[in-house]
Subunit: 147 residues, 2 copies
DNA sequence: TACTATGTTGACTATTTTAGTCAACATTAT
DNA sequence: ATAATGTTGACTAAAATAGTCAACATAGTA
């Protein structure tokens, strides 16, 4: 039950964009460096976010990427969906027809509940929430220095 | 975020044992046939359940396997843990030390919440719950015939 | 006792998925 | 024109998962 690096890297990249919101486009190169992943790989992660309407890109020198929506409108569930597909722990949760047992299978019901539980967390969390948590952490951490 | 076949097959096998509880040991061969998986593979799934204290096995002719505990004492979380390890969507949720960002990483916090949400569902569900759901489904389905 | 039907274990292979690279291309500021 | 960016698709590498096979251990029964 591991998350792919796509979702992990992608979510962090978006958070980075959210933190730099209003400062104009950010170079993918810079994000790649900051997160210590290759530019090529990052480009592949960003592509679905662009086609999914979450990121806007500008080509050419002085180009880069920015968020295409307000951070409070970008839910982690959507990010995960674009980068990794459904959270269904087993295929039959989304497509009952692929297994003849689906109708009477009680384990399938449980996997459905697991999916719903995950969905609920990621549906409830937006990039803006991450930004605020980050700010709060920063404050707490700097407070530490004075104790 | 897919569940491994180990957890899926293993959970179904345990449900089968729970349904046959009190009827003496069941042959792995029979479970394998019923679930349409190879005996060899099933043996490998059952091994950790035995060493984990969930299943009891009897060798020799007239051998087989049974539940080592009451179905209401067997939580799906434990089954999953034995067959697949932790539900942590990323390693750093369980082992903060593997990443230097852990302390200040807000995405990590979210992955922790996702893990907690999944845990909560599987912690709350026992084999007995599955048995009862199965019975209820059976009733509802047979009711259908009379409508 | 010998035989046979079961479970046990470990090494191995195959398959699938994930991760990542590379190269050719498109666009735009200067 | 050129150079710095993003875009796309084909390809390779690595890791995880799924599954097989063979040798062994144990216990019931003829």
């Amino acid at each position: 039950m591991k998350l792919s690096t796509r979702t992990r890297y992608g979510t962090r990249a978006l958070l980075e964009l959210a933190l730099h919101r209003g400062e104009g486009p950010v170079f993918l190169k810079d994000i790649a460096r900051q997160q210590q992943i290759s530019l090529s790989y990052l480009e592949h992660l960003v592509a679905p976010l662009i086609s999914g309407g979450i990121v806007r890109s500008i080509k050419g020198p002085k180009g880069g990427v920015t968020l295409a929506k307000k951070p409070e409108e970008i839910r982690l569930l959507e990010v995960n969906r674009l980068l990794e597909g459904s959270l269904a722990p087993v295929e039959c949760v989304d497509n009952p027809d692929i297994c003849e047992r689906s109708a009477k299978c009680v384990t399938r019901d449980i996997w459905g509940e697991v999916k719903a539980a995950m969905n609920s967390v990621l549906e409830a969390t937006t990039l803006q929430d991450l930004v605020e948590r980050q700010k709060k952490k920063g404050l707490n951490q700097s407070k530490m220095y004075y104790i």
